[in-house]
Every structure is written in structure tokens, then in C-alpha cells.
Point group: C2
Chain length 434, copies 2
């Protein structure tokens, strides 16, 4: 008999089925053994009768988290006293059992039941494969899967092309900040901090609309809850577009992501309405001061200001997202386009979500003469940028784009305490394992 | 007026529209200029009248590959003499034009028209952003996009979870072969040769069915047409499954990919029928000899044998794909499960496509005692494998999986001369740019 999922067995409600999963809980009681069996779809109580020796002996001495396969009869679970109105649940009276994988007795961390207290994050990450067995943790990756499915559904419907760009680069990349160095045969290579230059190259190619996902690397000694050394970026870039077009595109993409989650994951989540609120940096600063939140200069937002403005916007509009536009040249990359009539302001934006920056976007400067001038002003090495600058010498459509930090949006969506919780196997300054 | 795509303009056939793209070709002729405008969707002839000075002056001195925006009236293109029965085509009589990006006069390589001879591959890769402007080259990434969309459609329909696994590893990984070393703060890290261990960890987590895509790295000094140092892997892994289940899954996934291409890309491609042919390695060797192809030992297939058997199967069945099963222990990784009654044979397979290996798959050994024994036999360092071996100590479902080399399947699908042609920006022993 083919094994089916627990959620499908519950939907079926009766008959003979085969199930497989982990022993989540085990109780012995007057000639009976009760096992809570856990698979990827849910948990079901199994009832073993001591009189069925063959099956009983399989599980009698098995430790928690061992993996078994069972077959038997589905039955409605007797309701508990005082809970006669609760929705129907089902259990299985086991007729046959097979041990597939025995767990050692001493689990390094317990697979917690709902409501149990969590171990500290380092212990959890050391034993990530046990930590993630908790249904609530495992759900993080279901949410990510469906969110990305939604982003892709949007891009596919709009005829985007997907590209994969290289991780290995010959120079230390766009921002000049800390990069990881790789021994590359008899040369040095560097791990990309962003696919920025390559997705712009796709515009020079004429692909017009591209999206991509892949790892990006930051060799920064940051120890915050929102920094890791390797993370998954979601990037897109579009031709014949400015920063406003990119914001229009991004909010639809994200809305599509939320809808996809709601379709497939059993989770209490609200699909954001369109358009997302938009404020200039200047307006944000004014609003912060009007709400008696201390501001720190006029050029950028610090984490407290980001949290503050998101709380204000949430109160005013009910919205969790906020586009902040018109950042000054001083804090933006050399390739951000500037307003012709206000050359100190870039055509750029950040997207904040529940108090955290999850996106930086901008129209890019595509005029080679202006681009070279802006790069020089920012003390970039034009020689190291030669390959990049070439993209603009032989015809390049105007273009704009943005990147989303996927783990950051998932972290905030699920109210996780750290971006590391949203990452399958996070890497930070101290952590390269498991 | 909003710019529309050339293919949409052709579908519309008349009226005032705005287009934008590259100047693919330019001809002057008795008071007229003809420009072939190329965008991501196609090519259209633009007609400029010298009498419309404003528009004519914009393009008069522009070099090929400059980017322009034009508006004007769509008209049916007069048919050529002797071609009166050809399908209708359309051109635009331009009323207004704007220069968006001027190209330098001397293109390092020309953007070829259909039928022109290609420069050598190194020159093409040096100027990849010009090389890819050719509609036939650009199509490679449309095909990849849709193929992956099809793979994902299959996985999403079957409730797979997507994971992203780290690229940075603390040890030099599964096979012990050449890996790239990274300076990681005061430590050493290595770039992953495959996500093998991590996707197996997802089975120990209880995710049951996962897929993933991301870069993998090989520090091998290989100079063939099918080797690069960084490539995109498509991996999947499923619990409560053996190698036969994985082959069943993979052939459906691939078929879904081909169907997605056919839906969206204008290309002559055949959707493969199911099931894909399957032969044991022993049967392959016998068939090769029966067809007078020289075989090289009994333990593996060399590239000529792979090409040979695929040609034979193509002739016999019309099929481009072939699963080869039952490889001996000697040439397989330590974690491949072995047949209980034939311990010298692994429960593994390769998938060949048009003469090239594009997949290795297997059921994995999930019994910790057997796994440790097999690792020791293969002279693996058990201490370095400690994190991996732990996955099997606390309950791990039986599982199996496979990985697909995406660029290899695209290369063979489109009859490209090298895997590098299928990669947006390939990296090899000598190439780290652009």
C-alpha cells in the first residue's frame, strides 16, 4: 500500500492507509501505546495494542524522533470531556509497523511541542536539523517557497527573463566595501556582493526585463540580528523605466507573493493593498519630528528612525510597507541616476517593511560620460570598472531596478527574532557549520 | 504614448504606436532612411522621410546599436516581387524620434544578422553583452527561463519545498576533489561543490520533498566544452523513495520543463515522451558491443560511449533521453546505497541526454552504521564528515535524489557548441571576466 500524508489521511477519515514519519511523542497506558506521528503535513495519533505483538514490539523500545512506517485503520478520535464541540479529529489503530530509522536516546535538543520554551539561538543553529523539525519552524520554508512562487508568477506573466550571474568576480566589485577573497588557481577572485553590474549588463544585452535569485556575500564583521555573511538576493531590472516604474513593479510582485502564501500555507497573513505608501526622505524626517521622534541628520535613516516611521505609517494607513524616496547623492552608489533639476538627489528608493529596510532600488545612470564623472567623484577606480563601463558605450537602454533581501522579508513577515531564523543554514562571522 | 513591444505592434498592424530598441541595421535610399529596430520581442523596419527633418536628424548620424525611441504609424509592408504569398509584415512610418543612448562607432564585435559567421568563442565571451544581442543567442535565456518555470510548476504542484543552502562551507566537502578556498576572516572556508549534504539534511529535518537551485563550484583544471568552474545546479531530494522513484519524478519534471518552453518560446522543440528508456550499465555495454562500438572496461562510460549509446537508443526508440542504472560501487560516492543482495552495485543512475551526462542520482544510505563503514572504505575523513553523519543519528527517513546540470541540458537542447554558450557569464580556468 502506498504511503499517504497525514493531512490526506485526515481528509479521508476512514479506511486502511499507510503513514510514515517521526515519533513526536509516545505514551504507554494499560496495554496500549499512543504515538504522535509527525510528517511534513501534520501530526496524527497512532494507537498500538499490546495484543498485536508484532507491531507493538517494533515501537516498544524506540526513542523519540525515530522514523517508522505504519498501516492500519483510520478512526474518529473520541472527543475529550467538555470538548464535544471541537472539530473532528482522527487517529489510526495500527495493524502493522516497520522501523525505518532509529534515533539515539539522547537528543542534543528536543523537538519541542507547541508552547515549550526555545533553547538559545546558537544551540538551535548547532542542531539546525533538529531545530527545524518543529512544525512552526519548518513552516518558514513553506512560506518562503510560496512567496517566491508568487514573485515568479508575476515575473513570468510579465515576460521577464531569468538570468544566473556569476558569484566569482575578478575585482572587488561595486561598493569597495569588504569582500571575500578566493584562491582561484594562480589568481585571486572575489565573491560578489551583489549582481548589480551583471543585471545591468542584461539591460545592455537588450533583455529588457530580468529577474534573478542567488547568493550574495558580505565580509562585514556585523553581529546584529539582521546581518549574515551569505544571503539570498532577489533582484530585478527593467529597461525603459525609472525608479517610479520599479516601485510600481515591486509592489505588485510582493502582493503576488503574499497571495501565493495565502493560497497554499495555513497561516494568518494579510495581503498588502496597493499602492504602498510613498514618502520622500524629507517628508519622513518631518513626520518623525512631528511625532516627537528624534532624528539623526537629514541624509539617511538609522534603524530607530526606520522603526519609528513604519509605526507611524501603520497607525495612519494600516500599511506595513513604505517606500522612502529621494535619498541624497552622499549615501547612494555612484551609479544611481540624479534628478536633472536637483543634482544632489538620486532617483532612488528604499522599501521598508515593519521597520526594516528590505530593498534598495534606483534608476541607473546610463550615460557613459555622466557615469564616469559620478564614479570618479566617489573615488571609484575607473580601471577596475572598465568591464562595467563598457556596457554603456555601445548603446544601452535607460533602466532601473531593485533587490529584495528575501530572508529579511520572511523574518518580518513571521515575526522571527533574527534573520538567521529565516535562513536554512545561516553563515555569520563566527558560523560556518553545520 | 506608452512604448509597446514590436511583436505587439505587429499583432496590432495599424495605428499610432511608440517603439524603442537598438538600431540593428540602417540604409539610406533616395530621401528615405530605413532602420531595422530590434527589441526583445522582434525586429521591425522603420521608415524615416528626409522631409521630416526633426526625426531624420536624430538618426542621421547615429551608429548601429544606438538605442532610440520612435513613434509613428504602422503600415503593412509592401511585399517583395515574387514573394506576394509570404505572410504579412508591418513597418512604421516614423513621425517622431528620440535618441536614448548613442553607440560608439567601432563595435568590438558586430551584432550579427541571421546567417553571418560567428567570431571565435573567446572573442564572443569577451564582449558577451554584444554577443548576446543576437536574437538567436538571447533566446537561450528565454528557453532556460521557461524550462525552469516548467520544473518549478511540477515541484509546486507536488508540494515540494524550496530551500537555499549555503555556498560557504567549513570543510572541503563530499568528494575530496578540488575545491576553491576562501579567506573567511581569520579562518578558511571552501566553496561548495554540491548541495548534496544540505539537501540530505532537509530529509533529516522532515521536509520530505525539496528542490533547490544555486551555484556550485569545481576547481578543476578542465578545458573541455562541457566544464566550467561555476555552474547552476538544479537539485531535488525526496523521502520514503528509492532511485526508481527519483527517475519517475525526474522524467516528469523534465517533461514539464519542455512543455513550458513550447508554451512560451517560438522554437522547434519536441516534448519527450514518458517513460524515458532505462538500461543497466551492463545492458549498455552489451548494446554498445552488439553495435560494434569499442567499450572501455565495465565500470563506467566514457564520453564516446555516452554518445554511442544515445545514438543507438535514438535509432531504436526515437528518444533523446536514457537512464543508465546500476553503476558499481567503485565509481560512486560513499553515500550511494547498495543493493542488499548485490553489494558491489549502487542504487544509482545517470541520465544521458543527446550523448551527454546531465544528471547523477541515487538512493542515499541512511543507516548510520553502514554509512560510516562505506565512508571509511572510501578513505573519507570521518571527523570532517561529523556534521553530516549526525543527520542520521536521530531519525532520518530513507531518501533519494538527483541533480541536473542546467547549462548542460540547455546546451544539448539548443545544439550549442559549448556549455559556456548556455551560461550568461561563464567562468573557467582562465576566465573571470567580464
Amino acid at each position: 500500500m502506498n504511503r499517504i500524508l497525514i493531512k490526506d489521511a485526515k481528509a479521508q477519515g476512514s479506511g486502511q492507509v499507510t503513514l510514515a514519519g517521526f515519533i513526536y511523542n509516545k505514551r504507554l497506558h494499560k496495554g496500549l501505546a499512543f504515538i504522535d506521528l509527525r510528517d511534513v503535513s501534520g501530526v496524527m495519533q497512532l494507537v498500538f495494542e499490546e495484543s498485536n505483538e508484532a507491531a507493538f514490539n517494533v515501537i516498544k523500545d524506540l526513542n523519540l524522533e525515530s522514523v517508522i512506517k505504519v498501516n492500519g485503520e483510520l478512526k474518529e478520535k473520541p472527543s475529550r470531556k467538555g470538548q464535544e464541540d471541537a472539530p473532528k479529529d482522527y487517529e489510526m489503530l495500527v495493524s502493522g509497523a516497520e522501523m525505518l530509522s532509529a534515533a539515539d536516546e539522547n537528543l542534543p535538543i528536543h523537538v519541542l511541542q507547541k508552547g515549550d520554551a526555545e533553547p538559545d539561538i546558537d544551540t538551535r543553529l548547532n542542531w539546525r536539523f533538529l531545530d527545524l523539525r518543529q512544525p512552526e519552524h519548518l513552516k518558514i520554508f513553506k512560506v518562503w517557497t510560496e512567496f517566491e512562487r508568487g514573485l515568479r508568477a508575476y515575473c513570468n506573466a510579465k515576460d521577464y527573463t531569468q538570468i544566473y550571474t556569476p558569484t566569482l568576480m575578478s575585482t572587488s566589485s561595486e561598493t569597495g566595501s569588504e569582500v571575500f577573497e578566493v584562491k582561484y588557481f594562480d589568481k585571486k577572485a572575489y565573491l560578489g556582493q551583489s549582481p548589480q553590474f551583471y543585471k545591468q549588463m542584461a539591460m545592455s544585452v537588450g533583455l529588457e526585463k530580468v529577474f534573478m535569485t542567488g547568493p550574495v556575500f558580505r565580509a562585514e564583521k556585523s553581529f546584529t540580528t539582521r546581518h549574515v555573511t551569505e544571503f539570498t538576493g532577489w533582484d530585478f531590472e527593467i529597461s525603459y523605466a525609472d525608479h517610479n516604474d520599479v516601485m510600481n513593479e515591486e509592489e505588485q510582485m510582493i502582493q503576488s507573493g503574499f497571495k501565493a502564501i495565502k493560497e497554499k500555507v495555513d497561516i494568518d497573513i494579510e495581503v498588502p493593498t496597493l499602492p504602498f505608501p510613498r514618502l520622500t526622505l524629507k517628508e519622513v524626517k518631518e513626520k518623525l519630528r512631528a511625532n516627537n521622534i528624534k532624528t539623526d541628520g537629514e541624509e539617511d535613516l538609522n534603524p530607530e528612525e526606520e522603526r519609528g516611521i513604519c509605526e507611524i505609517i501603520k497607525k495612519e494607513t494600516g500599511h506595513d510597507f513604505l517606500f522612502v524616496t529621494e535619498y541624497p547623492v552622499s549615501i547612494r552608489a555612484f551609479y544611481h541616476m540624479r534628478f536633472e533639476d536637483r543634482p544632489e538627489i538620486t532617483k532612488s528608493f528604499d522599501l521598508l517593511y515593519r521597520g526594516l529596510e528590505i530593498t534598495t532600488g534606483a534608476q541607473r545612470e546610463h550615460h557613459i560620460d555622466i557615469l564616469e564623472k559620478q564614479a570618479s567623484e566617489k573615488n571609484m577606480n575607473l580601471e577596475e570598472l572598465a568591464d562595467y563601463l563598457n556596457f554603456f558605450r555601445f548603446g544601452c537602454p535607460p533602466h532601473a531596478g531593485a533587490g529584495i533581501g528575501m530572508a529579511r522579508i520572511i523574518m518580518k513577515m513571521l515575526n522571527l527574532s533574527s534573520v538567521k531564523e529565516a535562513i536554512f543554514l545561516p553563515r555569520d562571522v563566527k558560523r560556518l557549520t553545520p
